[in-house]
């Protein structure tokens, strides 16, 4: 377990150092902030309510990278992901995949009932 975790950290830091916008200083939260745009549909940190669209927390990094690339090139059919993956650079997609791969699948939190 520990070894896997350490490997993930290595992967993530490699990915992050590969991601940089022109003229912007290195930001240790860059991958998190990019991935946050996916939370809206895939849930906070990739843990999706009801698993629709699917949870992506803790998924294999290479698998996620491949999937995002396949959406981007149109190889993998989709209702919406093929349009969204095209909005990111390859480096950004890799950073996003690295972030979600490093997350632990967790029980979802849902809003409380009104008046509670």
């Amino acid at each position: 377990m520990k070894k896997t975790h350490a490997l993930q950290i290595v992967c993530v830091s490699v990915v992050i150092s590969g991601y940089a916008l022109p003229g912007v200083a290195q930001d240790k939260n860059a991958a998190r902030d990019l991935a946050a745009s996916c939370f809206t549909c895939h849930g906070t940190n990739g843990n999706s309510v009801g698993n629709v669209p699917p949870s992506i927390a803790g998924r294999d990094r290479a698998e996620l990278v491949q999937m995002l690339q396949d959406f981007k090139t149109g190889k993998r059919p989709a209702t919406i992901m093929h349009q969204q993956a095209k909005g990111y650079t390859d480096e950004q997609l890799a950073a996003i995949a690295g972030y979600f791969a490093a997350q632990k699948p967790a029980p979802v939190r849902v809003p409380s009932k009104a008046g509670s």
């Binding site: 809206t40 669209p53 990111y88 849902v110 409380s112 009932k113």
Partner: protein
């Protein structure tokens, strides 16, 4: 709420004739303890910002000021009009957000003193802040003389803020006799939720088809064409709802006659059994009072790297109240994304860390029936030369056509954005 220790100390020092220390970004509002971020407005923008400042920087004190004890989602509220979902389904509480460690004060922000970095609440309490996030939503412009009286506003509804008006419009539609005419007016863009009016047309048509098949819908649009997903909406109107909907573009509203139940256009007057007029709107009152409105007396200009106001330092503005970057819609999805990038920027600014310009994504679904939906999506990357967020060319787009599969994703979207915002 009682005055907390920080404010008490500050007032003691002030009354003792000692100048209060200016709020320091690293040591917190008023001096001792952690930094404080105050958020005004618990909608999609503000609640998300409050959640993520706390999640990503637990040491920061986060206070959310919200006047309601419940959150009612505008997305999916059109389904309530058709009886395709219930108010209960789109109404949520703030306890899950509270359990994240966000302090929630049920009150209304009455005034902001940007120099002293203080927010005064309607009940008289004063909150100090290091950084303030204002996510106030919209208020309506007073441009329709016939809607100035409360009686007129009760008769001719907007239902453009989900809640009582949603329920009231549903009741009007239920009370309307079969063979009646529902007339809707759409204001000139930009307005909250570009596809919203046209989704509403589909939902009302879905209800009429089922319950009042002889009824008609007249859409008076001040815009030259359907503002969002025109091809897709027209495919519905000429498909499953053929013969039910009359769409009239370039229909500028002059006035409303609530007694005579008529909408007056420049050259015409149109009667209906149920009128639904969405008045033009602007950033809500607190933004206006604070001098945050910078464009056309309606919207708040901001720095799209941090969300900070271009006029008032230390104040960040989110959501529908903002002067949109190019091709950026006023949507729940955008407000939720504003909340996250702003939270990241506010934390970085407080901690003296670098701020990376954001990449944000819009995803909006429109329901065209009880179960069918279609989407529009766009990705916005920061352009250093233009100093704003711009949509990525060749990315984003709309559905090929509405489908039940996308209806399932639309519900998934709703449940996830609610959780990402409120839990």
């Amino acid at each position: 709420m009682t005055i907390d220790r920080r404010e008490f100390l500050k007032w003691i020092s002030a009354s003792a004739g000692i100048a209060a220390l200016p709020a320091c970004e690293t040591t917190g509002a008023g001096g001792a303890g952690s930094a404080r971020v105050v958020v005004i407005g618990g909608g999609f923008g503000g609640a998300t910002a409050a959640k993520y400042v706390k999640l990503w920087a637990p040491d920061i004190d986060v206070v959310l000021v919200e006047r309601s004890d419940r959150f009612i989602s505008c997305p999916l509220s059109n389904l309530v009009l058709a009886g395709n979902t219930t108010m209960q389904e789109i109404t949520m509480g703030y306890d899950a957000l509270r359990s994240r460690g966000v302090r929630i004060i049920r009150d209304e922000a009455e005034a902001i003193d940007a120099e002293k970095r203080q927010v005064r609440l309607a009940r008289g309490d004063v909150l100090n802040y290091d950084r303030l996030i204002v996510s106030p939503g919209i208020d309506f412009l007073d441009t329709i003389p016939g809607l100035r009286s409360p009686q007129a506003r009760e008769r001719v509804l907007h239902a453009w803020k989900a809640g009582e008006q949603t329920v009231a419009l549903r009741k009007q539609l239920e009370a309307m006799p079969d063979g009646g005419v529902f007339v809707m007016h759409v204001p000139v863009a930009p307005y909250r939720c570009p596809p919203g009016p046209y989704e509403r047309v589909c939902q009302v048509a879905d209800y009429f088809k089922r319950a009042k098949p002889r009824s008609k819908i007249l859409v008076l649009d001040a815009n030259p064409d359907v503002v969002s997903k025109p091809g897709l909406f027209k495919a519905e109107w000429n498909g499953p709802y053929k013969g039910m909907i009359d769409y009239k573009p370039n229909s500028e509203l002059e006035d409303v006659d609530a007694k005579g139940m008529a909408i007056k256009l420049t050259f015409d007057s149109v009667k209906g059994d149920v009128l639904n007029v969405i008045p033009p709107h602007r950033a809500a009152d607190i933004a206006q009072k604070t001098g945050l409105i910078t464009a056309n007396e309606r919207w708040c200009g901001l720095d799209w790297t941090t969300g900070e106001s271009v006029t008032v330092k230390g104040i960040h503005v989110l959501g529908d109240a903002t002067l949109a970057a190019p091709a950026m819609p006023k949507s729940a999805s955008m407000a939720n994304q504003h909340g996250k990038f702003c939270a990241a920027a506010v934390i970085a600014l407080i901690k003296g860390q670098p701020v990376t310009p954001p990449v944000i994504m819009n995803t909006c679904y429109s329901f065209v029936s009880r179960t069918g939906a279609m989407h529009v999506t766009s990705i916005h990357q920061y352009d250093v030369a233009q100093k704003t967020l711009v949509p990525v060319k060749g990315a984003g787009g709309v559905s090929d056509k509405s489908s039940e599969l996308e209806g399932t994703f639309a519900w998934g979207w709703a449940r996830n954005i609610w959780a990402d915002t409120l839990a």
